[in-house]
Point group: C2
Chain length 182, copies 2
Amino acid sequence: MSLKHALLGFLNYESLTGYQLKQFFDESIRNFWNASLSQIYPTLNQMKEEGLLTMEVKYQDSSPNAKIYHITDQGRAELQRWLAEPIEPQPYRSAFLIKIFFGANIDKEQIIIQLKQRLQLAEQELENRRQISEKLFQKFSTENGLNRKALFWSLTVDFGIKNEETTVAWCKEAIQRLEALQ
Amino acid sequence: MSLKHALLGFLNYESLTGYQLKQFFDESIRNFWNASLSQIYPTLNQMKEEGLLTMEVKYQDSSPNAKIYHITDQGRAELQRWLAEPIEPQPYRSAFLIKIFFGANIDKEQIIIQLKQRLQLAEQELENRRQISEKLFQKFSTENGLNRKALFWSLTVDFGIKNEETTVAWCKEAIQRLEALQ
DNA sequence: TATAACATGTAAGCAGTTACATGATTGG
DNA sequence: CCAATCATGTAACTGCTTACATGTTATA
């Protein structure tokens, strides 16, 4: 389960609560792995049972009690193992491509409308990720380029940018090909 | 559920058994939506209950009895409705990008190995999809280009090709950037 | 003689979503 | 006074995967 390893990844940098982990997800890896609090909390509990984490209750005056999770040696070992393990290819699924595939069943104008929506979405996402990329460089640039951590982060952002660019290009071409259809 | 609509899409062209539908999946949309027989059979049953399909048993001498499914008017209406309905963006998930994101936790060589594996996979897929594309053109080209159905099919194949190309380019760049790291 | 192709399913489990539940503190 | 932020969960449901179950016919 990748969620577990993502949690281990963050907790290997610093000890955090479930709530904080959710914030880290939202600020960094949301674009390629999102998780809800209602999934994070039970997963952390389970990981504690498995010996990957330990938990410490922090009593707070000005806010509710919080459970801080710490990674264990076993957890660190599991993270390393997973990172080095060869990838198992994930099946790709796209409901949108099913629509395109069966597009001959409806008016081409209706498909064009959907392609234009998809294009707009991709353009927004592209702009969004370009901004993330720029912030990353502003924050973590050193005289020899990005620092080690930020280099890896920027690779994932670059992947997103390249993919959105591809989607934009494909949508535009698809719209043209359909408009050329008599 | 997209699976239902994919099944409706195929059954709108011709009546088929669950087994045949699986073959259609494997031959056409597998690259962006796969389904197992153990998911297809119960889904067809459910769709029959919902009035989207009717079922007819075909007794065969030379092979087991088969259940042929026919789309109903209600099924056709549902397919049209779904095709015209605006898309709800699907969350993208990539365990591989999580590994890259946390790549600073292990030796860069280990990440490079994984990137090279990913690159090889993408190159294979790219070759594969280019062949599919060529076959499509050989089979369905007319004097004004592809016929209507095949045009939509080719759009989905093109999407795959463009994406694999992007992945190939990104992997190569990522490997270079990591190798340049001292 | 075995295995691939034809043909249909059930049952258990997993990962993730959505809805529901509780309650304090801070800022507009 | 209301909404947002902080903080933790449970329960039901959905879609999909994996393992199991059954049986015939054609082909190598």
